[in-house]
Assembly symmetry: C2
Homo-oligomer: 457 residues x 2
């Protein structure tokens, strides 16, 4: 990589920070209707910034909610195309009095930039623009093609982006999708999250007699709705905390040896988790470590249960109804639709006599995985290592990022989550900030990444 | 029995009803402080009524609440002593507008006496007085000795009677305790309830992590408090609905062949219960009928369960705590203290890793049983049959009457529950009434009973 690129970033640091400060000054809170115009202003600002760095076909696309900003540069003929996703909307700022400086007046303290959106995600989106500008202005060209898709509804669950993506499949077609909206595992440890769990679930409603009964008069004679529910819920796991729903694990991708090594290399300390959560023991599926259980193994958790009397003391009632809410975290290649069917079949098979059981389905999300050894992932790892000079950590996430799953399904493209945030940077909370060390190193990493990608895919 | 006794009852019927109407006109609602003086008036009225029929040592005993009225007649030397328990207090009358006649102005309609307390329990208590008076005035003596203990707090749970009984053990000592405060199984079927279940229970509180956790980040890694609770609760029963707590059944008295026959003779219709409760199946401990399960077998019921998210839809939380309230209905000779200890031991043995479990104990009550073949029970059965001319039904009750258990434990006396009420008579509800057929036949039955008792015990 041309050493002038690094010089360019160094020379223009103050100008970049000034420009980012302007971006951060727009209170583009997508959740609050009174900020609708601000969200629009941030979209326009983003479009202008894309124009400024040399992107073409820049356009603010209308949706049923806040707009999507698009722009591209497609002059690297025969080279891969990178789609960059980010978002220009931010979280609300309440409670305002807990902020040490105004959330929309960015302030640098102790080499950290404080503002709402500094890290999530205006700061990280902005880095992509400036890294590309640095390469383009320094070398007169770019090693790969670029498309930008910057939305304004991520903080409210991206309600319109899946449809936009579906309707603009060709526009967004790419060889790799890069998202910088996650974090590094800890300071100084560059991290690539290459898989996320999906989600499906349902509510179980058990109905026994037509009303609650006197436990003296009827107790022992008729089914207790809570007993029936507990029977069903208990049947989901065996004594090894394995899920006993038939077929549940059938499509689960096994952990590869490389992945096992990568996780072991993280030197993850389970003791710290125990202390953090104040539990005497961690617990879960036999034969797997804590990280494996939370990253690569599916789960079935009861999120809520209720039935009968909940007040102080005792009421000797035999409850007529009982309810449980359960969700499964799914891993590649489990199919949420299929798992829900297996769950329903299991519930039916395990319903004891004397009660009626119905279920209500919850929203579903597919799991996501870009294979660990995918060239786009490995290229990102090498780019990080060039700048941070330590081995890249390869992780998976136990949660879901709905838009990642949607992109995965609609665009069918490898996705690289290159996050530069830190777990301590108060995402969604007062005093959100961004470590400028990662602002500087991150942009350099991105520049390296484009050149690595050119060679790899 | 001297046929003049029946004539006496017949001749004095109008006078008796007039006198009972006076008793029923006192609004002695023990639950309402504004009726304190009325409750006292009813105590004084009862004391005067005892004097009037020839009882001696009549006294209104003070307690920490409403008073207890005592009186005796102990001139049947060498004969058994009968203690009669009743109560002169009544339930509140709300909602007043649902009464077809004023609750404290007794009115006869269609051979039923309508008033609050007509059946529960002023009417039934009054019958004892008048039956004794009939025998005494007709024959000049009584075949057995009598003691009366009429309280004014039954409708608020008899808070002071156990202490009063404890402190007046000698005063109340008797060979048999007769209570007319229950009902006949149906019209025309005289019924003796010779056993009641006891009660004990506890709340199970499960605590996992220090707070609810994100089910994506932590799911599969740590114990879910609801899962742990469900494990424990599920461990209480096996697939035959038998209770698996070690030692739970050890002291349970088996059903005798005579009892089995007596229950079979009731021709109880399980289909009717299914329809009444709107359930497709009845359910319970294998090998026992519905009546056996609700009358003579102990139970363990979850009365309430709660933990995690209970709102609309889904919250992907891994709950930090979960709670269940359980109670056991106990049968002779189970000891509530011992059963609670067995439950706690069981819970401890079935607590899965990763959670802390604590318990809170609820109030306890012992089961009660006067053996089915006890001469005092069989004598009552014969007395009924002489008047009603059908076989007496022998039943047990699935619920508890706390004061019965207390008498049983403190006085250690056989207890005969000779109820003359009917299940349809609106106890505790608007339009409480009493069938005058049972008022007439009941008094005659009591007179026969005293003579049967004289011969039997």
């Amino acid at each position: 990589m041309n050493p002038k690129i690094q010089d360019y970033l160094h020379t223009n640091r103050e100008a970049h920070l000034k420009e980012l400060t302007e971006f951060l000054s727009i209170p583009s809170i997508s959740a609050l209707p009174e900020h609708k115009d601000d969200v629009r202003r941030a979209a326009d600002w983003t479009a202008q910034a894309l124009e400024n760095i040399g992107m073409e076909n820049v356009k603010v696309y209308e949706t049923n909610g806040h707009p999507v900003v698009y722009g591209d540069w497609l002059k690297a003929e025969g080279k891969p195309t990178v789609l960059i996703y980010g978002h220009y909307d931010v979280q609300p700022v309440d409670p305002l009095h807990l902020w040490d400086s105004p959330p929309f007046q960015a302030e640098v303290r102790d080499e950290k930039l404080y503002a709402r959106g500094a890290s999530d995600d205006k700061g990280q989106t902005f880095m992509h623009l400036k890294a590309i500008q640095a390469v383009l202005e320094t070398t007169g060209t770019l090693p790969v093609n670029f498309k930008f898709c910057i939305e304004g509804e991520e903080e409210i669950g991206s309600p319109n982006l899946p449809l936009f993506t579906e309707e603009n499949k060709d526009l967004l077609a790419a060889d790799v999708l890069v998202i910088s909206d996650t974090g590094m595992i800890e300071k100084g440890k560059p991290t690539i999250c290459y898989g996320l769990r999906g989600l499906c679930g349902l509510q179980i409603d058990v109905r026994g007699a037509k009303s609650d009964l006197h436990s003296g008069l009827y107790g022992g004679g008729v089914q207790n709705a809570i007993h029936a529910l507990v029977d069903i819920v208990n049947s989901f796991h065996n004594e090894n905390a394995e899920i006993t729903v038939e077929g549940f694990y059938d499509k689960v991708l096994p952990l590869t040896d490389e992945e096992k090594e990568a996780y072991a290399a993280l030197n993850f300390d389970e003791e710290t988790v125990k202390q953090e959560l104040s539990v005497s023991d961690l617990y879960g599926e036999k034969g797997y470590t804590y990280l494996e259980r939370t990253w690569v193994r599916p789960t079935l958790e009861v999120n809520g249960i209720y039935g009968g009397f909940q007040g102080e003391g005792i009421k000797t009632v035999l409850p007529a109804e009982a309810h449980a809410k359960i969700t499964c975290r799914l891993v590649p290649n489990q199919d949420p639709e299929e798992i829900v069917e297996l769950l329903q079949k299991h519930i039916k098979a395990h319903t004891p006599p004397g009660v009626e059981v119905t279920t209500k389905l919850f929203d579903k999300g597919a799991p996501f995985l870009t294979p660990f050894d995918h060239p786009a992932i490995q290229a990102a790892g090498r780019a990080y290592e060039k700048v941070y000079e330590v081995p890249t950590s390869y992780t998976r996430g136990g949660g879901s990022i709905p838009i990642v799953a949607a992109f995965d399904q609609i665009l069918n493209v490898p996705i690289v989550l290159m996050g530069f945030g830190l777990p301590t940077e108060n995402f969604h909370a007062p005093n959100e900030h961004f470590h400028l060390e990662n602002f500087d190193k991150g942009m350099l990493t991105l520049c390296h990444y484009w050149y690595e990608l050119e060679k790899s895919i």
